[in-house]
Amino acid sequence: MNQPPRTSAPPPPLGTPTLPAVPPQPGPPDPAGPAPAAAPGPPRRTAFAEGVDRLRAAAVTEPGRLRLIGALLALLIVAFGAVTAWQSTERADAADDVLHRSQPLSSGAADIYRSLADANTAASSGFLAGGQESESSRDRYEKDIRTAAAGLVTAATNSDPRSASAATIAELNRLLPEYKGLIERARTYNRQGFPVGGAYLRYANEKMQKEMLPAAEDLYTTENRRLGDDYADATPYPWAAVALGVLALAALGWAQLRTYRRTNRVLNHGLVAATAATVVVLLWLVVGHTVARAHLDDSRDHGVRSLNVLHDARIASLKARGNENLTLVARGAETRTVNGTALDAYDYDYQRNMKALAAKLADAGRLADDDTGRKPVAAAAGDMTEWQKRHRAARAADENGAYQQALRKVIGDEGATVECFDGVDARLAEALEHERREFARAAGDGLDAMTGLPVGAGVLAVLGAAGAVLGIGRRLSEYR
């Protein structure tokens, strides 16, 4: 800058000794005139110090300065491209994890929980029905166990060894056969007509309620947290890349302004190309991310939140059903004192779970954003109302000592609460399937918005850097 011949650029004065266009790094050992004396000089100096000296010497002459500028521009553009590629790869990977790993795993964990609770309910219904459980309740139980076992395998393959989830999965894998063994013994004794079968069922139920379901809930919580983490990794703006892009653009602008001032030439093709590439990458980056982010936020707000609420609702309905059955199995054995009145402990839990179900269904209705999503939720709410009504009738019968009648109203063929429970469960499964599709669509769109960005950014950055170098090189060649 403090060079005296300010506008003495275009006609190259032949007197200045210069070598061809090579980056002014420490490479060429012959920069300026008076330097050679220093080379064989007495004090031996470090390569770095020597390089700095040479650089300082190069900056004094215009071609040297041009080389420096060219190198810096290329470096900035390449860095911009690299950071863009790196940051968008990171986000695309996280978005991919959301879509293909953590969300399926979180749903899978919810399924494990649901299957286990459902198996337990099916087993207790079987006991209520008498020694020989019906084919449907047996099928249901077997299917639930299979689903849970398969879900555990999927969860295991996707969990990091030594992580908390892996330990929980191992625990569940140990408990599942144990539980099944107890149920098998209960069945065998029931068939022989011995009440110890019922004792085994109680023991199995205790194992399920006190050990397995809490473990499955832990797993669900952990997987949900991982989903949240993946979202957090996928959605933030890539500020580092944006900042570098703006910086690169500013540098390019400045370089072109400088060229214009010194040569009165408006366009330097190379630099213009470099600028264009940088602008494209920057725009692509910002727009792509904004779109991806919008889709991902949409998939979270409408997909994942709906899914979570629906899962919670389904689990609440399962728990309510389990407690409804246990009310009849235990026959008033357990009570809980609330505000001075002794209530049946299982019926109390049933009421609490039904309240939770109602709340979650209301939430799900509010979160559903289209008719296909709203309809099953509304149908489930209708089934729930009917369930409550029938349950009251069954309780009244039981309170009056009409146990058989109560039993019929709960597990009978027609007009029993089991119909309502099955209805709620099926409607919720339908709603879950719909929301899962919605989620996959939104998250997939988000992921698509980032497709090609890392590679594109890389290629364009290399092109841009090449343009900058060529542009500067052209200027430089005028000094030959």
Binding site: F127, L128, A129, G130, G131, Q132, R185, Y189, N190, R191, Q192, G193, F194, P195, V196, G197, G198, A199, Y200, R202, Y203, A330, R331, G332, A333, E334, T335, A342, N400, G401, A402, Y403, Q404, L407
Partner: protein
């Protein structure tokens, strides 16, 4: 102790340390003394005023708890009137029973889906309902865990408990009992292959399962404290129902089960690989438990029990033959209750 005192004196706190030790010893004595005296109380020993009064009342009232009941009567009183005044669907006798005691009160899973409760106790319940309400089926059964029997009566959740419930002095403080209707005693149950031979030294280091709140548990605890049971026996496993003990035994979580002989026989009947070991080591009687102030109901039940015993075609003997002869044997001599005595006056 000496080391601590030494250390204390070294620190220059010798006096304080010594006083603390003396205080601790005094507290220890104070705690041990009542226990020792109350043991003596049964044999007429004297002690501090508070302590002796308790054991004297016990000595007065409670030598034979099964005789401390009211004379039979058919007269209605406030309790029976209240039961009879129930209307419509509610006109039922509410009875606490067990649904897990094979042959006493249980559901036969193969009874065809009706899931009716049946057994010796249930027969008696139907008979009481027929007498009071005129309909043997006017009963609402409530299944009650062992340790909930007394609270259920006290809270008025049930009118009575007919659930292989032993008449004893502790329980008589909280509820009123009828005359005895069955004789039994605590007995030990263990796998046939087990080295346990009976209620003796072979229980050293063994895990014994009992139902929470059962006479089995209180007896074992008392015996262990008195040195009648080896101190190393592990009583920590308690379950809601005696039948849950059989589950624990089969799963190898405990080594032996202690429960009433009649129920132990029921357990052995469900699993041929376990057997009763040794003879009953107590004598106990089952009675119907009711609210402490339900005098009319107690008298009524006692009258019903007299008829139940005397009725040879549909009474005690028949129920025994139907439900218990298979597990306890044809001979009823060991199980018949004594001739009732009604020593309670109010």
């Amino acid at each position: 102790m000496r080391a601590r005192r030494l250390r204390a004196s070294l620190r220059g706190w010798g006096g304080v340390g010594a006083m603390a030790v003396v205080c601790a010893l005094a507290v220890l004595f104070a705690l041990l003394l009542p226990a020792a005296r109350s043991h003596g109380g049964d044999t007429g020993g004297t002690g501090g005023p508070g302590v002796t009064r308790g054991s004297q009342t016990r000595a007065e009232e409670c030598t034979d708890p099964e005789e401390q009941t009211l004379a039979p009567s058919a007269a209605d009183g406030p309790t029976i009137d209240a039961i009879k005044s129930r209307t419509g669907e509610k006109r039922k006798l509410v009875v606490g029973v067990d649904q897990n005691s094979y042959r006493w009160g249980y559901r036969d899973p193969n009874s065809g889906g009706t899931a009716e409760l049946e057994g010796f106790d249930i027969d008696l319940v139907h008979r009481i309902a027929e007498d009071i309400l005129g309909d043997p089926d006017a009963v609402q059964f409530k299944a009650i865990p062992t340790n909930q029997r007394i609270p259920a009566i006290q809270d008025g959740r049930v009118d009575m408990v007919v659930r292989t419930m032993t008449i004893n002095c502790d329980r008589m403080k909280d509820v009123a009992f009828s005359a005895p209707y069955f004789r039994t005693g605590q007995q030990l149950l263990a796998p046939r292959s087990s080295p346990i031979t009976g209620y003796d030294g072979s229980l050293a280091g063994k895990k014994i399962c009992t139902a929470a709140g059962s006479t089995a548990y209180s007896t074992l605890e008392q015996d262990r404290a008195d040195g009648d049971l080896v101190a190393s026996a592990d009583l920590s496993t308690t379950v809601p129902n005696q039948l849950d003990c059989l589950v624990r035994l089969q799963l190898g979580e405990v080594d032996a089960v202690v429960t009433d002989g009649a129920l132990a026989a029921s357990q052995a009947a469900q699993d041929p690989t376990v057997q009763l070991k040794g003879d009953p080591f107590t004598t106990e009687y089952y009675g119907v438990a009711m609210k402490k102030d339900a005098d009319d109901l107690v008298r009524r039940v006692n009258r019903i029990l007299v008829e139940f015993r005397a009725d040879t075609t549909g009474g005690w003997q028949r129920s025994y033959d139907v439900w218990l002869s298979e597990t306890l044997g044809r001979d009823t001599a060991k199980y018949e209750p004594p001739d009732p005595r009604y020593l309670r006056k109010s």
